[in-house]
Amino acid sequence: MKLESSPPLKALPAPRTRFRIRWTPVLFLLPSIIVFIVFKYYLIFSAVQISLFNYDIVNPPGRFVGLENYFVFLQTSTFWLALKNTFIIFLLSVALTFWVPIVQAIFLSEIRKANGVYRVLYQIPSILPVVAGALLWKWMYNPDSGLFNYLLGKIGLGPYGWLNDINMTKFAIVLPGFFASGGIGVLLYYAAIKSIPAELFESAKIDGCGPWRRIRSLVLPNIRFVILIQFISFMSGALLAFDNIFILTKGGPADASLVVSLLIQRSAFEQSNFGMSAALSFFMFLVIALLTVIQFKLQKEEN
């Protein structure tokens, strides 16, 4: 008997989904999207545009020079010195300050009594405006009448030049971050640690893991994503640092702390070269964007 093949089953049409705009989320998102476009992206595009001109602030945009501004600054040793200083200060900041809130959060997560009080205490330094903090440190660094040389003198050390010492300036700029780098970072890390299920800690303890092993194998892997996000934010903050350096040294002494952000300010407001300033700004934007992408890629591969 010949079996007749049954006709192929007709694929059922996929349920028709009607494209619907949900207006409520759109309304909630709209303000931030507008703010981002106006205050971020438009400015970036404007910077690119300005960087292509010998910008004339009276009759903008001035003469079109193409990529000349980029070629010019890339050929100046002041720029390379500023870039080198920027990265040295960034690396010093990583070494001296980036890990501090992580350690604070780990300690905080172990504290049972008056935990809230400690969390508030960690937040207080972040309330102090950067300018006020920098002025305070500048006073403490004064080689003649500053607090540090006075205290160190009591134990027979110093006097040190601090910000007056070409070899010590960068360290002196970064040092305040070591003491006041808590702030919101501590809370983010703390929240991430607290979100790790308590059972994991208990089983780790039963398995005989000591505190260091628990931190290395349990805490740090589980808060890795927060560390990554914080590092990206930290990196852009350190590479674009301006206000504290401007107040403490203005790039001195002898350009020992001249960073790219100060060079941007100097080009625009001391040399009236807004085109060059915009070119430097966009260059730094590209550097930070590139480093961020690399960071994400590495993280992805690791995962």
């Binding site: 404007s46 100046t76 002494p253 040399q271």
Partner: protein
């Protein structure tokens, strides 16, 4: 008019935003400020109220100008500034003046210009005036000046720093002269009876005063980021200048000239050989002043009007001494002439320019000068003995100022020199070698100056000279 205003606000907002985000940007659209398009309009003819014939306040349109001359809330001269501003308002009812903070920095000024918010009237210093004329951000007011009956009231040469290619860009506002302030009391304690007249004597005096007055500093040197300001005096004393303006308008650097190297070597010697300067050589100008008026330092370089600051901070006028600069190897010690101008925005319409000029000339009138001087005298603020106008005699207002102080200031001003050309742009390049030799005992002045000159030539002068030559079609 609407288009102009909208564009202005747009650019202002953008600049503010871009600064806030660290990416220096501004709107690339046209500025909409087209003086040519508006030049057809006739000036409003802002005659003073007393001279108007028929109800000017009702018939003439109100012209609004913005002036950056609002005194700080704690300024000692706030009352007299406001009194004069009120008098102007009464005399010129059809000019509305919006006064904005006078203490805004040059950086803020450039941000305002880039954002299309340049004030109609502002007051740049001598070096800034040169820079702004070059950048095209000050109006050519030659016609207004030449038509003014007040032109000849100003002292000879007063317009020089605001004149380029025969065009006048500013009205002189103030002038000062510089020299060395010393603390008579500290000198007396040290047994010093004659003032130093040469570099060697200056160093020896500083050393003696410092030794005989424990805890004091012989001489507060200026090594911060304005360090080139005082350093240039030493270059002059050694017979040179940091830059040289060429006949074709281009600029030549003299950082490695013998005079500059000698001057820097002297700075190095003051710090490391004679050891007569403060440890914190980078401290601010204000901190240097504080050292002097608090009796911590024996000598400091300063302008003739710094007397007001010292007395205002409680220093006893009888201990304030002033002397001309000790001469250097070239046998000269010229005093620096500094000061400021009134300037008008090139974007201002003809009506606004006229109104701005009327305001400036009102504030430059004999009466306005004398009102300010009288106020200073009455309030013990001290008087700058220099004035930019011929018809005001400051000697009538200097009662209470030590006579020897006044004669010393006048003597110091007998030989004068203007600051080095392109100072605003070159300052960071000059400061670097100064700081190097003040902080590093092993730094060689010539090596440091060579490096600075090469850098400044490549990063500033080459471009400047190219622009100058292309503008003049050479």
């Amino acid at each position: 008019m609407k288009r102009y205003k909208g564009s202005t606000h747009k650019r202002a907002a953008l600049l503010t935003m871009s600064l806030a985000f660290g990416l220096l940007t501004a709107c690339g659209s046209g500025n909409g400020n087209d003086p040519a398009a508006e030049s057809a309009a006739t000036p409003a003819g802002n005659t003073p109220a007393a001279e108007n014939t028929a109800e000017p306040s009702k018939e003439a349109a109100i012209v609004e100008i913005t002036v950056w001359d609002k005194p700080a809330p704690d300024a000692a001269t706030k009352a007299v500034a406001e009194e004069l501003q009120a008098k102007f308002d009464a005399a010129y009812p059809n000019i509305k003046v919006i006064h904005e903070d006078e203490t805004q920095t040059p950086e803020k000024f450039l941000a305002a210009v880039a954002g299309g918010e340049q004030p109609d009237v502002f007051r740049p210093s001598f070096p800034k005036m040169q820079e702004y004329v070059q950048a095209g951000i000050v109006a050519d007011i030659t016609d207004l000046i030449n038509a003014s009956p007040d032109k000849d009231r100003f002292i000879d040469g007063a317009f020089n720093m605001a004149t380029r290619d025969g065009k006048i860009y500013g009205v002189p506002l103030s002038m000062y002269s510089t020299g060395v302030y010393y603390n008579k009391k500290l000198f007396e304690t040290a047994g010093i009876t004659s003032l130093p007249a040469t570099w060697d004597e200056f160093a020896a005096t500083a050393k003696t005063v410092q030794e005989k007055n424990p805890g004091t500093i012989g001489f507060d040197i200026l090594g911060m980021d304005w360090g080139d300001w005082h350093f240039e005096y030493y270059v002059w004393q050694a017979g040179g200048d940091l830059t040289e303006l060429q006949p074709d308008g281009t600029v030549k650097l003299n950082f490695t000239s013998e005079a500059t190297v000698t001057a820097l070597q002297y700075y190095k010697d003051l710090k490391w050989t004679h050891k007569v300067v403060q440890s914190n050589v980078l401290q601010s100008f204000e901190e240097n002043n504080k050292d002097f008026y608090s009796g911590k330092s024996a000598m400091i370089l300063g302008a003739s009007d710094a007397y007001n600051t010292f007395v205002g901070q409680g220093m006893d006028p009888s201990v304030i001494g002033f002397m001309p600069y000790p001469v250097g190897p070239a046998g000269v010690g010229p005093s620096q002439v500094g000061g400021s101008f009134w300037a008008i925005s090139p974007s201002a319409t003809p009506e606004k320019r006229q109104a701005a000029f009327d305001y400036i000339m009102f504030m430059s009138s004999k009466e306005a000068f004398e009102t300010r001087l009288q106020f200073n005298k009455d309030n013990g603020l001290g008087v700058n003995p220099f004035t930019v106008v011929k018809d005001v005699d400051t000697s009538n207002y200097v009662e209470g100022m030590p006579a020897d102080f006044l004669s010393a200031i006048r003597k110091a001003a007998e030989t004068q020199q203007l600051e080095y050309y392109l100072k605003s742009s070159l300052s960071p390049y000059v400061v670097k070698p100064i700081q190097k030799v003040l902080l590093d005992q092993n730094a060689d002045p010539l090596t440091e100056l060579k490096a600075a000159e090469q850098l400044a030539q490549k990063e500033v002068i080459d471009k400047y000279n190219t622009d100058i030559l292309s503008q003049s079609g050479k």
